[in-house]
Symmetry: C2
């Protein structure tokens, strides 16, 4: 049973051990301690546990709408993220939005033989490769018209507030990465946080098994996603992407492109009380200056939760890149459980003492 936790070498191994049961657990444990140790609670506390984030949050969205009044809050603490490395405290003030799309390019009713039709029947893989290649300019920027229109540069204040440095060598080593492709004019840390992306997450067409078949396929498909930054509208990006593909496919070729999911980016204020309190707690527990970072990932429910509650938000957590989340051998360190418990306890204590 992969959900049965086992402790090995100071780590809890189980599916969800970090994302997000482990993080929920230290949060609840800190709350329990607060309630046991405090004579009275000097602030209103609302606990929201989201159990279907990985499968679309359909029920949560309904609840957010129904319970909007009860959810009204001053501050929102989302405990679903990580720290840049062991012992390095950091609060997260931004996540990217996302747009996911499926593309099908069809050039015939059925597959053909590349001897009898090769050189005359338009090959859908060729058409799709060409259209996808046209999504980037020669320098590597996304070439979809208006893609960057709504993107705003960081203000001087934000530039000072956010730590967007990245350990490139570590990234390279960790994944055996052969080549970086940062957004021209931006650092790697900026490219992965304050810049939007377009990635091809999957492609398929024709014969892909062992050996060779001289098939001339009728269909090719791709899965494409964009990570979005504040002010970018997933719906607008989708429409422009669709138009761009249509422009770069030969006449007559059938294009089916469907929007799978779209959500806005989220950026929290760097000088809110909750951000300050969280940073202070992190620093006290880990005895190091707390960084302020932006995450490249997307947690669509955060955007919705901030909207529904009307609260100033901050994101935090004790995850590490190496925790294997969503994968076999997902784990969470007991040391980070302790740090999480102490940090969370301190944040709650600070609010109680206000």
């Amino acid at each position: 049973d992969p959900f049965e936790p086992t402790i090995r070498a100071g780590k809890v191994f189980a599916r969800g051990a970090q994302d997000n049961k482990g993080q929920c657990f230290y949060t609840i444990t800190a709350l329990k301690a607060l309630l046991e140790l405090s004579e009275s609670l000097n602030f209103n506390l609302k606990l929201f546990i989201e159990g279907e984030e990985e499968s679309g949050s359909v029920g949560t969205m309904e609840v957010l709408e129904q319970k909007q009044e009860e959810l009204q809050s001053d501050y929102l603490l989302v405990v679903d993220l990580g720290i840049p490395g062991p012992g390095i405290p950091a609060i997260t003030l931004g996540i990217r939005g996302i747009l996911t799309m499926e593309i099908e390019v069809r050039t015939a009713d059925g597959d053909m033989h590349s001897g009898g039709m090769g050189g005359v029947a338009y090959n859908p893989i060729r058409a799709l490769s060409h259209a996808l290649a046209k999504c980037f300019d020669e320098e590597g920027r996304v070439a979809i018209p208006h893609f960057y229109d709504d993107v705003q540069e960081l203000s001087a204040q934000e530039k000072k507030a956010f730590d967007l440095t990245m350990d490139e060598e570590k990234m390279q080593r960790e994944f055996g990465l052969r080549a970086f492709c940062p957004d021209p004019g931006y650092t790697i840390g900026e490219s992965v946080s304050i810049r939007p992306t377009l990635e091809i997450n999957g492609i398929s067409g024709g014969y892909t098994g062992k050996g060779f078949k001289t098939v001339l396929p009728a269909v090719a498909t791709a899965k494409v996603s964009c990570r979005l930054v504040p002010h970018q509208n997933p719906e607008k990006i989708f429409e422009n992407f669709k138009k761009h593909l249509e422009t770069h496919l030969p006449n007559g070729i059938e294009l089916t492109i469907t929007k799978e999911h779209g959500s806005y980016a989220f950026r929290a204020k760097e000088n809110s009380l909750i951000a300050k309190q969280a940073a202070k707690a992190y620093e006290e527990v880990m005895e190091k200056p707390c960084k302020t970072i932006l995450s490249g990932g997307s947690i669509p429910i955060t955007v919705e939760l901030a909207k529904a509650s009307g609260a100033e938000a901050v994101m935090m957590g004790f995850g590490l890149d190496t925790d294997n989340i969503h994968a076999p051998n997902e784990h969470f360190g007991l040391d980070r459980f302790e740090q999480g418990f102490l940090t969370m306890g301190r944040i709650l204590g600070q609010f109680n003492a206000l």
Copy 2:
């Protein structure tokens, strides 16, 4: 048992019913008739049955080398092809060569998450799409340097001799074809016979199942083939293709490209005795002028057989595009069995009467 023949609606259904057992069968039957009806055979006859054409002809190649002396002949009749449509006689004087290749583009040791690495880790599908798109120029010609260097235009005599017209509407209807892409400056019939091609037969990378995974893949692969015309050297084309891909992939990205198979095109003389005799026999049996055509497909063993025997060759047969060769429900019409038997009988009779 798909190999068990059944007769339905005037057709034999079984794997290999047309390609190439049916065609072998009428050939052997005609030979049997010749031997039974002729008092003496006035020419030397050598029968070569190739049983492993679809799996590389490894044993045949050995035999060709060992038995070169016994194989020496004046004329070679290869019975493995088709006619342009029911009741339309045609001899085939050319087939295209082929080069098949497998490409792997690797950018990292393992898959990554498109949130954490999107926009900075080079995406192999993007790199591969770009490199494949660069294999064609804006007009649709193959853009690999020197690709067309050895291609010769048809001589005035060949132009007159070959019927390269194609029923485009029929092709379009048969496959529900959305778009043609003939070689610029050439007709569809020319593009599929006297011009070389480059086709992407398969592509694969990342997540291709149902729904969406925001994976940033480490590897993308493609299967690519070229159909070659006379004088094009598969080895040279392979080297140029490889160099071209390397040129159009970002630095550091790992490219593995392997040649799967390569063979030369074959073109027979249009005025050989065997070509004339075959055309005459076709015309007598089908009561229509016999066309002289070139096939877009490849039968590598024909090239080797012609070389080993030193013979003037002609290719013939009674296959139709609609016979479903290599596929379920492969079939061969009894009417074409009869036409094949009569045509082959006549060719043998004509040679016997010389």
